[in-house]
């Protein structure tokens, strides 16, 4: 057992975790944050993506113990004070949400992108999201939503670092 102290969506959590617990399990089972999804368990689909110290990572391939002292952001952490982020609103407005299963991972990657690159080109948006699979939308409205949010001058999410996604 390891005594883990980790910030999740701005809230400090302390608990004992066994070595083999994944960050994904910690978030979903221990912290009841069900927004992060698990579609492949291999790190290919992107639905498990969260920010660790502002950097997008695959929670299904991360051990919880390795997050000691770090700041983790999940989709639940994108809204502040009961208000959704401009990026989330842009997804709604642009029809970027169909079944919605890929949406949390997309939002996380896009948040990291806009934090590092507030005015991306369409090509940069597509390159940033290449590791997030969507089977419903064909991606066009998702790309449009990210570009629309960029135009609205998306403020940096907290906590952030200036690393590129």
């Amino acid at each position: 057992m390891h005594r883990l102290s980790v910030m999740v969506n701005g809230v400090r959590h302390e608990q004992d975790v066994p070595s083999h617990r994944t960050l994904f399990q910690l978030l979903r089972e221990d912290l009841d944050l069900a927004g992060t999804k698990d579609a492949c368990r291999q790190g290919v689909c992107g639905s498990c993506t969260v920010l660790v110290d502002g950097v997008p990572m695959r929670s299904c391939l991360a051990l919880a113990v390795r997050c000691q002292g770090k700041h983790v952001t999940t989709v639940e952490g994108l809204e502040t004070g009961g208000k959704i982020a401009p990026l989330q609103q842009a997804f709604i407005d642009e029809g970027a949400v169909q079944c919605g299963y890929c949406t949390p991972g997309m939002l996380i990657m896009a948040t990291a992108l806009l934090d590092a690159n507030p005015a991306p080109t369409e090509g940069e948006v597509r390159a940033a999201l290449i590791g997030n699979l969507c089977r419903c939308t064909g991606y066009a409205p998702i790309v449009r939503a990210v570009l629309a949010a960029a135009k609205n001058r998306h403020p940096p999410s907290a906590p952030s670092s200036s690393r590129a996604p």
């Binding site: 999804k37 709604i92 029809g95 949400v97 079944c99 997030n132 089977r135």
Partner: protein, 776 residues
């Protein structure tokens, strides 16, 4: 970029035709939408399944003792414990394998335990002894006498539909179309061409896999939570399998993370139920892992299509003979329906007087072929649109001209004898696709001599499941707000919003006052299924009828209040009025004044069942009304081909669709764009590799679906040919986008290089080989 017709723009509706935003999106962007995968129930146990490693084998023994004794295990079942068969067309599939296994991956044993970890360990403690049997993997071989027979008891299976089956063989479905005289037709033709086309194994790849939970009460009643498309199909199939009255089975639909047909019929549910029968009321949840999605869910039927077509020199099609073989794997699932559907749409949207079609559904020791967006029509479209261009080229005719010579007009009759009496927008889709894409003008040549550019097009049509019924309830609370109750499922395609739009429009009530919930067969009335692109038409009509019924009831309640006979009252703009007078009562006022403090809800019910449909003749496939509606589309593809690597880059797709009146243009464009990309994947980069029944690439790492970087520019064109019987003239949309992309790309590759590829997927290697045949 979207192209809207003037009619849509000029429309006077408040909601219909408008891009109303989806109510559920807020929950999805905040991570709060509860999918089946997220379901947590009190006392919930977790299931794992032991699957056969062999494609065809007798089960000699199954020893579960060590698993049963493993701490934390609450139930273990094998086929011997569960003597039930299920199936939507033919009841041929056991809950768990009994006596033998018929595909690699077939469930042999299942465990329910207090954690997924324990269930997984327990599965490994089950010992199974198999005796391998010779397998048959090619459906053409499986059809021949002397092949290993998968289902010795085919004759004893209960049939759910009128499908031909041939006991003693591996043929489980045979659909025929006979029209005119093909023999004479070929004699009357100037040219007769025969070509063969094939399609591959494709996986739906919904981001949320199959998942369900089951709970069995002390009285034996069964509750199932499922990420599914058709709660009433599930109810019927489970009830029939278990021998339970329908009201003792309850299906609750969770949020669904994509379906595309995969979740149309039972899959994880029988296993969850079998375990739940042994856990003293504790619910059991079973979720496929991704590799189980590849080997243990259903797949798109690979097809082998032989097209023999007789034409006149001017390109008129005189006769067409098709032999289509659909590889349905170890169990039939939706196979007979897929083969049937493909037959009835099989020749394309063309006038053909002499037709002979045999469409077979054949068992092999492979993964199970099931419903996949398009239901056999993408396979048929691949064939008829590729051959259309091949014939055009052979005759020296232009691909647009040859199609225009043969395409349906209003009043034409289909190959199954149906006179198309409304909404035939196919020629408009062709005209508009050509116009918007600039198809007639060749693409500018690349500066790079190793790159060839070309354009190609393809047209298609599709029927919908007919006859099918939908029922809706529009329930008004005493404050005038509304809940919609229906068993249509929001899969991401946007139907929830469409229904709200329809009811808001019909009643003149602000859409914000209308909510829709999830399907639950205990509460929501019958709907056949969310499939076949049928929902907007059938459930939309049911919603209209239910709204109308509510309006009528409110008028009846208002009548004594305003002292006006009911037949002089109208419901409009959220209330009852007497035209010509200033009498008006809002719905809220009517209910309050009618029921006061005692309160009440007022419900309107609507059942929609298309009229005039008759089942097709078993021998000829003929019926005056095959489909409640037909959908049409034309795609134009611009491609670049690297002549040294064979790699194809799609530059642009123009997708022109006739879906009748478009109720929600954003939803429509979303379905088209998504369908085009899914079709693109099946065209260029998706293939499940199945070798002697074993799936060798069961993961996203190896089975590649399109990414953001694989998607061309997609231009959608909405051609609205309103349907006389559709709600506000609407038809359906979600499936057609998947079909014409493949042949449009193949035709574009031919246009660019002279290389013709007749098998999917179009890999760079195949293109290179075809190029070498053109210029040796």
């Amino acid at each position: 970029m979207n192209d809207q017709t003037p009619a849509a723009l000029a429309r006077q509706f408040r909601y219909v035709g408008k891009p109303v935003l989806r109510g559920e999106s807020i929950d999805k962007v905040t991570g709060r939408w509860v999918y089946g995968a997220d379901l947590v129930l009190p006392g919930m146990l977790h299931a794992k399944v032991l699957r056969s490693p062999y494609p065809h084998a007798r089960i000699l023994s199954v020893d579960t003792r060590r698993a049963r004794e493993f701490p934390g295990v609450r139930a273990v079942v094998t086929g011997a414990d569960v003597p039930y068969l299920f199936g939507s067309a033919v009841r041929d599939e056991p809950f768990l394998a009994r006596g033998k296994v018929r595909y690699a991956g077939e469930p042999v044993a299942a465990v329910a335990a207090v954690s997924e970890e324990i269930a997984r360990e327990a599965i490994n403690l089950i010992d199974v002894e198999y005796e391998e049997l010779p397998g048959v993997f090619d459906p053409l071989v499986a059809m021949r006498p002397g092949s290993p027979i998968l289902h010795e008891d085919l004759a004893t299976y209960q049939m759910e539909g009128a499908y031909d089956r041939y006991p003693g063989t591996n043929i489980v479905g045979h659909t025929k179309v006979r029209r005119g005289d093909v023999v004479q037709g070929f004699l009357d033709s100037d040219f007769v061409y025969e070509d063969v086309f094939t399609t591959q194994y494709v996986q739906h790849c919904s981001m949320e896999g199959h998942v369900s939970a089951a709970q069995v009460a002390s009285d034996g009643s069964v509750t199932v939570w499922s990420s599914c498309q058709s709660p009433y199909n599930f109810l019927r199939d489970l009830s029939n399998a278990l021998g339970l009255p329908y009201n003792m089975v309850r299906i609750i639909v969770t949020g669904v993370g994509g379906a595309f047909g995969a979740k149309m019929y039972l899959r994880t549910e029988p296993l969850a139920v079998a375990l739940a029968m042994r856990t003293q009321g504790k619910p059991v949840k079973y979720a496929h892992t991704r590799d189980e999605e590849f080997i243990g869910a259903v797949v798109k039927h690979p097809a082998h299509l032989t097209f023999k077509t007789g034409v006149k020199r001017d390109g008129r099609i005189v006769a067409r003979k098709i032999t289509a073989v659909f590889n349905t794997g170890g169990y039939a699932d939706a196979g007979p329906q897929v083969a049937r559907n493909s037959a009835f749409s099989g020749t394309g949207p063309y006038r053909i007087p002499n037709v002979w079609i045999d469409s077979y559904c054949v068992y092999t020791n492979n993964p199970i072929g099931g419903a996949f967006r398009g239901f056999g029509v993408p396979q048929a479209t691949w064939a008829h649109e590729s051959q259309m261009d091949m014939i055009a080229h052979r005759l020296g005719l232009d691909p647009v001209g040859i199609r225009m010579r043969n395409l349906f007009d209003l009043g034409d009759s289909t190959i199954t004898g149906e006179v198309l009496y409304t909404s035939v927008g196919v020629k408009d889709t062709l005209r508009r696709a050509v116009e918007v894409s600039g198809y007639g003008t060749p693409l500018p040549a690349s500066d790079d001599p190793k790159i060839a550019r070309g354009r190609g097009l393809a047209t298609m049509h599709k029927l919908t499941n007919t006859p099918t019924n939908s029922t809706a309830i529009v329930k008004m609370h005493q404050d005038g707000t509304i809940n919609l109750l229906c068993s249509s499922v929001e899969l991401g395609q946007g139907v929830n919003t469409v229904y709200r739009q329809i009811v808001a429009e019909r009643l003149g009530i602000p859409i914000e006052r209308i909510r829709i919930g999830a399907a639950d067969t205990h509460y929501t009335p019958y709907d056949q299924s969310t499939s076949g692109s049928r929902s907007v038409f059938h459930m939309g009509n049911a919603m209209l009828l239910a709204a109308g019924d509510l309006a009528q009831k409110l008028c009846a309640l208002a009548s004594p209040l305003v002292g006006v006979p009911v037949d002089r009252l109208l419901f409009r703009d959220g209330g009852v009025e007497e035209p010509g007078s200033d009498k008006f009562l809002s719905a809220k006022e009517i209910i309050e004044r009618s029921f006061g403090a005692r309160g009440s809800t007022v419900q309107g019910e609507g059942r929609f069942a298309p009229t005039g449909t008759r089942p097709p003749d078993k021998e000829t496939g003929q019926t005056p009304r095959m489909s409640a509606f037909w959908m049409y589309a034309t795609h134009v593809a611009d491609v670049e081909v690297d002549l040294e690597t064979g790699k194809v880059k799609v530059l642009k797709i123009v997708a022109a669709h006739d879906a009748g009146t478009i109720i929600n243009p954003e939803g429509a464009v979303g379905q088209i764009e998504g369908g085009v990309v899914q079709g693109l994947g099946a065209t260029l980069c998706e293939e499940m590799l199945v070798s002697d029944g074993i799936v060798t690439n069961p993961s996203f790492a190896e089975y590649k679906i399109p990414t953001t970087m694989d998607v061309p520019e997609i231009v959608t064109v909405l051609v609205e040919a309103p349907h006389a019987d559709g709600p506000y003239g609407a038809k359906g949309l979600s499936e057609p986008a998947l079909a014409p992309t493949a042949p449009a790309i193949a035709n574009a590759i031919f246009n660019a290089t002279g290389a013709r590829i007749t098998s999917l997927p179009i890999t760079p290697e195949k293109v290179l080989q075809a190029l070498k045949r053109v210029t040796p």
